[in-house]
Symmetry: D2
Subunit: 422 residues, 4 copies
């Protein structure tokens, strides 16, 4: 019983395996329908409404195509294929709502929850065990990069993986930009395996360059957009404040689903999978009417797009924030919730340093049988290898509670201060 999914990026995705359909229909996977892929980005780019559900299916689809290509050079048995597809489909299943924001509140990485869901008492686990008792562990191992055939982990999560391929294409499509486009067909048909490593044939070199730069552009143009980051900050402060109030026994409006999170106890899988975007959005809707002035104000700012002002600092100047804190406090605004220095940073392509924590294997190129790091062949990738891009934004409110502009004064202070430094 084939099932056809209409995918806006790849047109039809045809699924032939019953166990995959079962995974898709599981309650843990269906939850991903309510978790937007790009969190708060839709505030900046209104088209970015897509969810982790579609990205997860797209990632599995590209894994399938990559494995078909690799079958030309190595033997891939049915078990390996199934493990690869399951790992691709499930790799994001542990994402909470507004992912990175939420991780900070809950104190656990989404990768850990992905493992918990795969190995825990869940529908997903039961379906995987239905194939073979050892399956859940093997799938988890691919995600943890501990699986024996390491090319599968590489395909799923590395500097050149199907996860990134899908999200670059998909995010570009929904956002409506061309930054994330690259020649995915050429890239996939250039994939090879050598010595359990994924390797790209030389003919795909330009496609890899496009792919690496696609990610570079998407980071700085979309993912780290200052408006989006400002919204994340707002959301984080809302949750921080609510949690603080809960701990002080003074949160007047309780949101049942969030209570286990605020309790600081161990959260179980069942509680976790109740979380989705609508819970957070509903909470903000209610907390707007909280009697806590800070919580209420932050929620209003969130709902009615009264953003923090983002002031870009050229570089990491040794700026003292004390004067700004004073200004805010004199307006009765707690700087813990109304002032933040944000430093989004990203390494587009990293050199491999053996033994380093989180070491990132290089993208390898096969040039007529000789295998070398891509930086040997690509000027443009070498140029940015290991570079850490970083930006500095200072966020503060535009108005105090009474609606009086306090922003111009702070900007004036910053402008003068920075001019003095030049």
């Amino acid at each position: 019983m084939k099932k056809y999914f209409r995918d806006p990026i790849y047109n039809f995705i045809i699924i032939d395996d019953k166990w995959i359909l079962d995974l898709i229909n599981s309650k843990e996977f269906q939850r991903l329908r309510q978790i937007r892929q790009l969190g708060t980005s839709e505030v900046t780019y209104y088209g970015a409404n897509h969810t982790r559900f579609s990205h997860s299916i797209g990632t599995m689809y590209l894994m399938d195509r990559a494995l078909s290509q690799l079958k030309n050079v190595i033997n891939i048995d049915d078990e390996m294929r199934k493990i690869g597809l399951a790992a691709a489909l499930l790799h994001d299943i542990g994402h909470g709502p507004f992912s990175h924001v939420f991780e900070k509140i809950i104190g656990t990485k989404h990768e850990q929850w992905t493992i918990n869901i795969i190995l825990g008492d869940t529908e997903v686990n039961r379906i995987l065990r239905g194939i073979d008792e050892t399956f859940p562990q093997k799938v988890a191992n691919v995600i943890k990069k501990e699986y024996e055939h390491k090319y599968l982990s590489y395909l799923l999560s590395s500097q050149l993986d199907v996860d990134r391929m899908d999200y670059l294409l998909r995010d570009s499509y929904y956002v409506g930009v061309k930054y994330g486009l690259f020649d995915v067909d050429m890239l996939i048909k250039s994939l090879l395996v050598n010595n359990d490593n994924v390797v790209v044939d030389y003919k795909g070199l330009y496609a890899v360059e496009q792919y690496v730069y696609a990610r570079h552009y998407m980071y700085w143009q979309v993912y780290y957009h200052k408006t989006t980051r400002g919204y994340e900050l707002l959301l984080q402060n809302i949750l921080k404040r609510a949690k603080y109030l809960y701990e002080q026994n003074s949160l007047d409006i309780k949101i049942d689903v969030l209570t286990p999170i605020f309790k600081n106890e161990n959260i179980n899988v069942n509680d976790y999978i109740r979380l989705n975007d609508s819970v957070i959005l509903y909470a903000i809707l209610l907390w707007k009417d909280s009697t806590d002035r800070i919580l209420s104000d932050l929620c209003c700012k969130y709902l009615y797009r009264d953003l923090y002002k983002a002031y870009e600092l050229k570089q990491s100047v040794p700026i003292s924030l004390d004067r700004i804190r004073e200004k805010l406090n004199s307006q009765g605004m707690d700087d813990e919730y109304y002032l933040a220095l944000d430093r989004p940073s990203n390494v587009t392509y990293d050199y491999y340093v053996e033994g380093e924590e989180g070491e990132k294997p290089p993208i390898l190129i096969n040039n007529k049988g000789k295998i070398r790091s891509i930086t040997r062949f690509s000027d443009s990738i070498r140029a940015i290898s290991g570079n850490q891009g970083i930006k500095y934004y200072l966020y503060f409110p535009r108005n105090n509670y009474e609606g009086v502009n306090i922003c111009d004064d702070i900007i004036k202070y910053l402008d003068e201060y920075l001019e003095g430094l030049e």
Copy 2:
């Protein structure tokens, strides 16, 4: 101060007018970010996550282009332009979550709420009055088709309007189908005005045909997809049950934002604009644990994709549902919530019958100065004019509460019954 919006359909939408930006930033308009354009369609087509926010901006953009085109043939002063743009931007502002479903519960059409928001005590109203005291009423008149320059109403809502143009293109893009595509550039540059009527120049005839059929295809392939309709039914039954329980004082889990709706009193604008998709989704998440067996069961079905079975009846056969009711009741299932006959119907293109209620003016073609109804020129549109497409689906559950299959038995009964009729 120009503002550039990235639109996935039209690339950049540039907004130059401060008052438009103010309307977009108003709390009533920002609410549309949380209301998905196609409601439950994303269950069937996972890409369909876009919101009424982007559709509203797109509609305004096309109105602007249409008015620029019409300036070639008639005088359009600044006030007319502003009224046209405002009406286009705000035409959907009254939509509730999961629009048609919600309308049934609340008993008021979204069009009425649109008027309420434009004329009521709202930010939108204040911004419009900022232009001119008479503005809100004029904008409302365009929407109600009572404005003196009726070509504006025609452009916004008729058998050939910018609302449809935008949603066909946008829905196609997000769903990932090509059914809704047509040559929008050719269509817009063929627009003329004659005698306060919008008219299409003959050179745009094929573009109009494509447009009419685009809508035809989208209705039957996307909007009325049986899975989507089944989900709407589920949602409607959930809200009906919750309201019933509320009225019986036996709803154990209250959702504050929904209470005014259940109370059957007059709902004020402030209560109304708190409603969005996340409220409904959050409610379902909580009601899943209700002690009411029916409410809890329906919510589980919704969350975990345990859809009603849709059985297509060939035509309106005089089938008795009593036997099926019996079967359901014998399994303890209340047929009010577990059985429904759905009859989606649509007239793709309607003949104009003067004086008829809701009469729909025809699409007019200008052929070298002579103006005639499009059915004079187009075989394909004449072919479907006035035809009411209709389908009959009977929906019933797959399992009873204990998970026992009850569906096969009903299907067998229906198959045999229908065969007997042939």
Copy 3:
């Protein structure tokens, strides 16, 4: 040894079979690089520069996909597949330059030349015989609709064939219009075979409608564009005049490659395959300087875009051309070359009339096992079935040899005459 072709429509076309590459590299097939798919259309739509070479490869590609789909329902052995692919690849190999124009001069249809090339003493023939001595005849039989497995002929040439599918998509792409788009993926995966007939599953109904209308639009908007038709007429008159002069022994500038054509003897395959667009274009370039006033004038008109005026006659009115002939002759212009009535006509979708010459089998739909003609299910196709669209254009020059406008006078005469008839 796989070969990858970059195709603008389908991205990569991968060819795995050596014999197909050999056919592509044969001299007869390479000739198609110099024959534009749409002949004179590029005068009207400047993007339409594509050749029969790319269309032929695209047609083979779609045949391959169609056969892969049909393998789900019938057995297709390796020989059948090869015959299908070869027939698709070679179906246009007999096309001369500016196809229909040239056919009139040479008096033989391109289909006949296709058969001649497949069966004659050619490279193509040798490659096909290399597979099996019977191959050339079998491939020719598919094209002549005399092959035993008639579904192959249907797939290649019918009212629903891969030839049309490819040219609609490709022509739209190059011309830059959206008229020819349809959901080709859905269409192909809906193909079935029943009783040696190709049948479309009901789920592909809308895709078929789009496809039929795509052709409808392309005919009237692109293929039969009056400017394009006017250019064809000019070209035809140039060749007619040159042939006439040759026969009178008074063609002062000989074009070697065209001599066999003008001789009215049997043309052999070797002479024929020397013909391509550049021969005609080169001839026009030289004949511009002919001492024959008519030939020279027509070539100037062709090269410098001094088109005939196209006057549209509403319907087949019984207009006498004598007065116009007189006007032209009084300016010294031979009406045989300077006046023409063109009647482009097309039947978008034809009813099947058994026994009729050139009978066209209907498109069949499979609705749950019952097979019926598409006109049973589709209002829009039924609406135009059997309708012969027809237009009437009268072409005459804008200026006489001395550059004096003679066109306005004729238009005035026609306007008055037609007005008198109303």
Copy 4:
């Protein structure tokens, strides 16, 4: 009288100015319909059939958009606009067939012919003088970079110009690759003028990077493809041989239009504009039957795709070609026509060295009022600045006249020789 051109890249191009339509209809401009944009590339990428006609109109269109953007920052009067549009439209009007190949035979650059056509006794010149007697010279000055408002020359021809923008987008579209895509809308709306220099606002930085790399990829993946270069070589040798034979009075088949070229006298504009692709293609068709063995053989190779073998040399190794010459001569093949070392080279982005011949002004970025070279901001562009990419291909035939393979022997010799060097 507006005229709408359907452009596959930009959809509609609307032309409002009569003088532009006149230029387009001039015989010199119409000639561009018969000159393919990418010359022999269509042998490698069969979709690449587009002509300089469409590229020229596209370039003018982008110039128009760029000027509209610049009007936001500087005053552009009607004359400047007209001069800019005319220069953009006519910048390629001097191109001969298979441009670079032909330049070598004729010994004059196409840029010179562009000036000759603009200033000479031509229709184009007459139309330009119709605007103002000084117009032709001003337009020529923009092209020669001698116009007083140098930003116009920069827009037309620099490291960031509308010519490149159009050809990257257009060539990508026709070839069917994604390498040449970049965000042209963002790029154009970032253009500014400072001190008569074109400058890009910082917000367009990524779009510029994409544009620079688009050109990089297109050069190495498409324009310098070894198959394409091999075809150019073949074509060049055919023309060289024919010219040599003509000079020796032993060219048995004369092509009238080429005679003035072979005569080595001054070619006048009238002779020049008779040249187009079809002349060359027609000549090859006839020369195939020349009694000169070399000319005939080269033409066969060209027509029937019997390409030279391209052997890539890793770097500029000091290889002696004498042994290979011997091998060829021993097979009776003249190495002047059967052996060539090709060194395609390109500088993707060049540093500015003042005073250097052909100095290339840098792309300038405006970062909040400070204007700096782009290499200050862009790692990826800095990385390749001034780098001269270069490749080394040795071309030799696969077979001798009798069809005996001589290629394997040469390859074996080269392989061994190079291995010895390692």
